[in-house]
């Protein structure tokens, strides 16, 4: 007995050590990555970098155009994807009666979320630019991103619609409310937190996306107004990072952009968390 229990204790201790090690390595990697990027990047962030565009004549680098392009592309994608995705989700959960078809569509949207983004870029280039005749720019890039984040919006909206108790719908219908009236006044208001969280996550994906934009939004580093940017080559922050790092050898600028992206991602996730928590509390 004595022998067995001491062996057990050793085994227990060994296993616990291994688990601590796993957690420690994960943490260390994360801290190292964040620290490394901030260490190299923060020093290069300057007001000039943030507020000007690159100039070959003055030999200065500025990422204002890329910051704006990122905002533009978020705007374009969200304006298109939000009504489309929420509409599709409402149809699938509230209206559709053929469960086989719904299952197939749900499976398809799930699969779509797992497809490498470069493939969306390829399809976007072929469809929006070659076939539809758009120019490389924010519009083509934004529409490509719509394809990519549509499944995210549809899934998160569906999930939050499903959490609305059936008794709310019954209550409204029993008062003589029509189907759409019930959805608009009782179901959607109670699913809003989930939809907002989905949107914020989608914005996060847009900010972080590069592969899908290489072919569609382009590499342009010139400052454009919103109208012009729609149809002219415009690099977002992530694409600019790629350009500065690999084509112009400006590693410091690349790290500065990386640091900015990290901060943005952090803020977006924080916002998603806060919104989720606040809306949950108010219920």
């Amino acid at each position: 007995m004595e022998h067995l229990s001491s062996r057990r204790r050793a085994y227990d201790r060994g296993l616990r050590f291994l688990l601590y090690l796993c957690a420690g390595i994960t943490c260390a990697l994360l801290v190292f990555l964040i620290g490394y990027i901030f260490y190299h990047g923060l020093g290069s962030i300057s007001w000039q970098l943030l507020s000007t565009q690159s100039s070959y004549l003055n030999d200065t680098i500025g990422i204002l155009p890329n910051l704006l392009n990122t905002l533009y592309i978020i705007l374009v994608s969200m304006v298109v994807v939000l009504p489309l995705g929420v509409g599709a989700a409402v149809y699938l959960t509230e209206y559709a009666t053929n469960h086989k078809v719904v299952n197939i569509i749900e499976f398809a949207t799930e699969t779509l979320t797992g497809i490498p983004s470069i493939i969306f870029g390829l399809v976007g280039m072929l469809f929006f630019i070659q076939i539809m005749g758009l120019k490389q720019g924010i519009l083509a890039g934004g529409l490509t991103l719509v394809l990519m984040i549509l499944p995210v919006i549809v899934r998160t909206t569906q999930e939050s619609l499903k959490t609305v108790p059936q008794s709310y719908r019954e209550g409204a219908l029993a008062l003589g409310a029509g189907k759409w009236h019930t959805v608009r006044t009782v179901v959607l208001p109670n699913a809003v937190d989930g939809i907002i969280t989905g949107c914020i996550l989608a914005v996060g994906r847009i900010v972080g996306e590069s592969a899908a934009l290489l072919f569609t939004a382009g590499f342009g580093l010139v400052l454009n107004s919103f109208g012009t940017a729609l149809q002219s080559s415009s690099a977002t922050l992530t694409v600019a990072l790629y350009v500065y790092a690999s084509e112009r050898g400006e590693t410091e600028v690349a790290f500065a952009i990386a640091a900015i992206l990290m901060i943005l991602t952090f803020l977006i996730n924080l916002a998603a968390n806060l919104v989720g928590r606040k809306l949950k509390k108010s219920k």
């Binding site: 008794s167 409204a172 219908l173 029993a174 008062l175 003589g176 409310a177 006044t185």
Partner: protein, 251 residues
């Protein structure tokens, strides 16, 4: 006694399973009709076929007629919005919307087009008074209905149903989730309501049926075994099965 609802040869299937068989019933106006019977006997299904809430369940097939104010409610031309405004429903579990008390009551009238603040205020007050909950909530009409107790929530749901001025009020085991005091309040309320409305209640509680109802229908395996004056059903049941059920031999 005037008949407000006339049910003839009503059959209902969930897929292949027949849940209601040849139901005949004349529901008297301004009285309380209780539907009793063991679980799964079809009483709730029958109740839901009066305001066509069964339409929401996929695979339901219905034959026969339910005549209300001269119209067969299963006529394809009947607008369920109109029907459910005339025939209100209170569910087993209180289901107030996650809105303010005021907005809960105003939901129905707003749905049917009442916009004026003055009118809504008046409807909210009379409905809450009719449901005997006005004094408890009049000072906090703007706070969430979810903060009320279960019994208050259920009376709020009754007020919400009354706010659209229905003819008939259906109550589907509306006290089974409540404590005895709340139950007593709702029973008293049901008795008061029959001066203005016709009430049909489904109940598992036979004392409740004897306390509040004028007519009782005993359901078994999707059939109405016996239907008549409550007093008569409970004192001298004609059918052996009714007697067995009310004396507690099964159920």
């Amino acid at each position: 006694m005037s008949v407000i609802l006339q049910v003839r040869d009503l059959n209902l299937w969930y897929g292949d399973h027949q849940a209601l068989q040849n139901i005949q019933m004349d529901v008297p106006a301004n009285e309380i009709t209780a539907l009793i019977g063991p679980s799964g006997c079809g009483k709730s299904t029958f109740l839901k076929s009066i305001n066509r809430m069964n339409d929401l369940i996929p695979g339901v097939r219905i034959e026969g007629t339910v005549t209300y104010s001269g119209i067969n409610i299963y006529d394809p031309a009947v607008d369920t919005t109109w029907l459910r405004k005339q025939i209100g429903m209170v569910f087993q579990k209180p289901n107030p919307f996650p809105m303010s008390i005021y907005d809960n009551i105003a939901y129905g009238p707003r749905t049917h087009g009442t916009r004026s603040k003055l009118q809504l205020d008046e409807i909210v007050e009379t409905s809450l008074r009719d449901a005997a909950i006005w004094n408890e909530v009049k000072d906090r009409l703007k706070s969430s209905a979810l903060g009320l107790s279960g019994g208050q929530q259920q009376r709020l749901c009754i007020a919400r149903a009354l706010a659209v001025k229905p003819d008939i009020l259906l109550m589907d085991e509306s006290t089974s989730a409540l404590d005895p005091i709340s139950t007593a309040k709702i029973e008293d309320l049901a008795v008061e309501l029959k001066s203005k409305y016709t009430v049909i209640i489904v109940t598992h509680n036979m004392q409740q049926a004897t306390r509040v109802s004028d007519k009782t229908a005993f359901f078994l395996l999707g059939e109405v075994v016996e239907f008549g004056d409550t007093e008569r059903i409970f004192s001298t049941p004609v059918d052996k099965r009714t007697e067995d059920y009310i004396t507690g031999r099964f159920g």
